[in-house]
């Protein structure tokens, strides 16, 4: 397993620095909540649907509380209090609020303890449903089986959920293990989750609960047909991070893109907002058994893959610690990296191999998510197919977990049916043909590959020390990642962040975290 002769003192130092960075940020996170966290609580208590103006009902509740300036006590209290006082369901409270018949703050106010006791059965029911989904997934994998790692991950992006289903089922029959439904451009900037099945999107399809459900059913169906559990992936990112995590947990998604740093840098989402959102979303993903995919691979689309490789590793260390604090186990951490070195670079393949093997050795249990070449893909589809072949070779030589398949037409259009088939057959050929090569090779002591890995690790450890002294927010303000600088008061969604009052409670967070940390203690014994 260890082929790089890495200096473990650097690894340990880097991990400790990342821990300190995450814990420092956690103090901020725990003192705050956001409108999207509160909408998530409302959803989990049973509110769904939209009003006459297509406003989602969870938004109606939060609008009511924000206007009355009482959101700091948390939506669980106010919605729970209304359910208690009116003796009705969360949904009927929400319907009354949405049409203006009810203002939650004008009712009699029961004690926080009384309200918590009243909503306990609904909390347990929602948590129970998610646990049930997790068990159903484990059962389906046991009975149907699954493809060998690296899992073949492909995207569908037609904009129309029904067309997506056709393409997803075709991909599963061709050999795909994970289907990701790309979201329509700009959904990450919507401060609500659209409703119902959708057929119009640009460059992707809206993430809605109904679309999740339709695709889940279709993949279960094709999974039984091909005798493999087919995983479903979506995007738990942007302004509705925790809401989408909850929707995914309820509809049994298996993989979720989930990375605050990505949203901050590449979507200009406010860092305070998304760091708080990320925490609750990771707690949900962790509890639901969902694999998260982190997005540090994207740094290399704007920064040079040779010069800035250490920023990817540093970010992986930070993402690992954020995930651990949210109770998300290592086995669910699809840490990201990418094959983005300029193909003209002499020995570029060796550097890619060094980076992939190093990541494997440092995060041994993580199902690493490996991203294909995109930046240097051109309209020369023949060369592109070869670039993707080298990418596949690195992956099987270093035992990556999730292979996001490269498309020969990457630079041209979202994948055609035939593009996806060609890329799946490329990966299947290489993975099968080189299946056990990793067991047969070692790297020259002090050679190019070992030296490269050593250098990247050393630089990452230094960067993490620097971040530790600056704090994560100042680091981002200085543009240390991807060469993009963001201000802590800038970006989208800051107005949705608030400081919790002393009475604040998020009952789901408490229950899920308790379950996760109890499990951890058990598995350590």
């Amino acid at each position: 397993m260890h082929k790089l002769n890495l200096n473990w003192e650097y690894v340990n130092a880097a991990r400790q620095a990342a821990r300190a960075i995450a814990e420092d940020t956690q103090n901020f996170i725990e003192a705050h909540s956001t409108v999207s966290v509160e909408r998530t609580i409302v959803r989990l208590l049973g509110v769904d649907g939209i009003d006459a103006f297509e406003r989602p009902l969870p938004n109606a509740i939060i609008d009511n509380l924000s206007k009355a300036q009482v959101l700091e006590d948390g939506a669980a209290y106010w919605l729970g209090n209304a359910m208690y006082q009116l003796n009705c369901t969360a949904q009927s409270v929400a319907e009354k609020v949405a049409c203006g018949d009810l203002d939650l703050t004008t009712l009699d106010k029961a004690s926080a303890e009384r309200v918590a006791e009243h909503i306990k059965p609904m909390v347990d029911a929602a948590v129970g449903l998610i646990e049930e989904n997790k068990k159903n997934r484990e059962m389906a994998i046991r009975t149907l089986g699954e493809g060998p790692k690296p899992y073949l991950y492909v995207i569908v992006a037609t904009g129309n959920i029904y067309e997506d289903i056709l393409q997803a089922q075709a991909a599963a029959r061709q050999g795909a293990d994970i289907i990701a439904v790309i979201r329509t451009t700009a959904q990450s900037l919507l401060d609500y989750v659209p409703y119902g099945p959708t057929t119009e999107g640009f460059g992707g399809t809206y993430a809605t609960q109904e679309n999740f459900k339709l695709m889940r059913t279709a993949l279960d169906e094709v999974g039984r047909e091909v005798g493999r559990y087919i995983r479903l992936c979506n995007y738990c990112s942007g302004l509705c991070m925790p809401e989408i995590a909850a929707m995914g947990a309820v509809e049994r998604l298996d993989v979720m893109l989930n990375d605050a740093l990505y949203g901050i840098l590449f979507r200009d989402i406010n860092m305070q907002r998304t760091l708080v959102d990320q925490y609750f979303s990771r707690v949900i993903n962790g509890f639901a058994g969902i694999i998260i995919n982190t997005g540090e691979d994207n740094y290399l689309t704007t920064s040079d893959a040779v010069e800035e490789a250490h920023t990817v590793l540093a970010s992986q260390f930070i993402n690992e610690q954020f995930a651990l604090l949210a109770g998300l186990p290592e086995e669910q951490m699809g840490l990201g990296h990418a094959f983005e070195i300029n193909p003209d670079q002499e020995d570029g393949f060796l550097y890619e191999l060094a980076q992939a093997q190093m990541t494997r050795e440092i995060f041994p249990k993580a199902p690493l998510k490996y991203m294909p070449p995109t930046k240097y893909m051109t309209g020369d589809i023949f060369k592109g197919h070869v670039q993707d072949a080298l990418f596949n070779a690195v992956s099987i030589m270093t035992n990556q977990g999730i292979q996001l398949l490269g498309m020969l037409t990457e630079a041209i259009h979202t994948p055609l049916l035939q593009d996806r088939a060609l890329s799946i057959s490329n990966a299947k050929y290489i993975f099968n043909n080189m299946r056990h090569l990793s067991e047969e090779i070692s790297f020259v002591e002090g050679g190019r590959i070992q030296t490269r890995a050593h250098d990247v690790l050393k630089e990452a450890a230094h960067l993490l020390e620097e971040i530790k002294s600056l704090g994560i927010m100042e680091t981002i303000e200085k543009g240390k990642f991807a060469g993009v600088a963001r201000n802590r008061l800038g970006g989208k969604g800051l107005e949705g962040v608030f400081k919790k009052s002393g009475r604040y409670d998020n009952p789901f967070l408490t229950v899920m975290l308790e379950a996760q940390f109890k499990k951890e203690v058990k598995s350590e014994q």
Binding site: G159, L166, Q169, A170, A171, A172, R173, Q174, T185, A186, S188, L189, F202, G203, F266, R267, D268, T301, T302, S303, D304, N342, K375, Y376, T378, G379, A411, I412, H413, T414, L416, L417, Q418, A421, L422, G483
Partner: protein
């Protein structure tokens, strides 16, 4: 050039002049069968191929079939009459752009860039504007004599225009990566309409770039120039500085 080539009637080259050899691949929404292979062959004939041959057919998992077809194209093109709209400036490298600004324009110029509308992909605007540039070609931020302001992605047209006014820009450059369902067309048209209604169109050089953008399309939409794959920061800069010199 081979003098046996008749430039008034060129056709594809496989291994012999004028053999017309072409390759193509496509999918038909019918299962793989002798009938579907014949359908693919007949499609080749209808497209103007002689001796069309289906060399590969495979099932795509939903009862659709992927084909690779070879054939000999019977059509020819009169190469002497081909006209293409090109960006009307001389090619320059980084150094000569800087020298041109120093010698001819004698002042710092300001270029505001953004990826506009709903498009979230900064890769194009970054390649042209960021210090680092792309593939060894430095971006505009690195140029002496150019103040380059990269506003990033998902910038509304009115915000871009407001910025251009604020910094008294000489040129606006827009990147459009997502072009699925022609989402970029109304967005680009809106920018030009807004500039015209503000009376700014003639005061600014306005360019657009992206993998699906041609100079011809850009001109049609009312831009001064369009840039595509294979164009770098120096190509955009060369056009802007020469155009500015013309307008003085």
């Amino acid at each position: 050039m081979n003098n046996k080539i008749d430039l008034t009637a060129i056709k594809p080259y496989g291994d012999t002049l004028n053999d017309g050899m072409m390759q193509m691949s496509f999918t038909l929404p019918v299962p793989v069968s002798p009938e579907s292979k014949e359908a693919a062959r007949q499609l080749g004939l209808k497209m103007g191929l002689e001796e069309a041959q289906v060399v590969h057919a495979s099932d795509l998992g939903v009862g659709y079939t992927f084909f690779i077809v070879y054939g000999k194209c019977k059509h020819t093109i009169d190469f002497t009459r081909v006209k293409v709209s090109k960006v009307s400036s001389d090619a320059m490298d980084h150094d000569s752009v800087e020298a041109f600004i120093a010698d001819k324009l004698k002042r710092e110029i300001t270029i505001v860039g953004a990826c506009t509308g709903t498009d979230a992909h900064t890769v194009g605007i970054d390649a042209i504007m960021n210090m680092k540039g792309f593939d060894g070609h430095y971006g505009l931020e690195r140029y002496d004599g150019i103040q380059a302001i990269n506003m990033g992605a998902q910038v509304p047209n009115d915000v871009l225009i407001a910025k251009a006014i604020e910094v008294d820009a000489d040129a606006i450059i827009v990147s459009q990566i997502v072009t699925q369902k022609d989402v970029h067309i109304p967005n680009l048209t809106e920018l030009i309409d807004m500039l015209e209604s503000e009376g700014l169109r003639d005061k600014l050089i306005v360019c657009v770039g992206g993998p699906r953008i041609s100079n011809e399309l850009a001109k049609e939409l009312g831009f001064d120039a369009g840039f595509g794959t294979g164009d770098y920061a120096e190509d955009v800069a060369a056009f802007i500085v020469q155009e500015l010199a013309k307008r003085v």
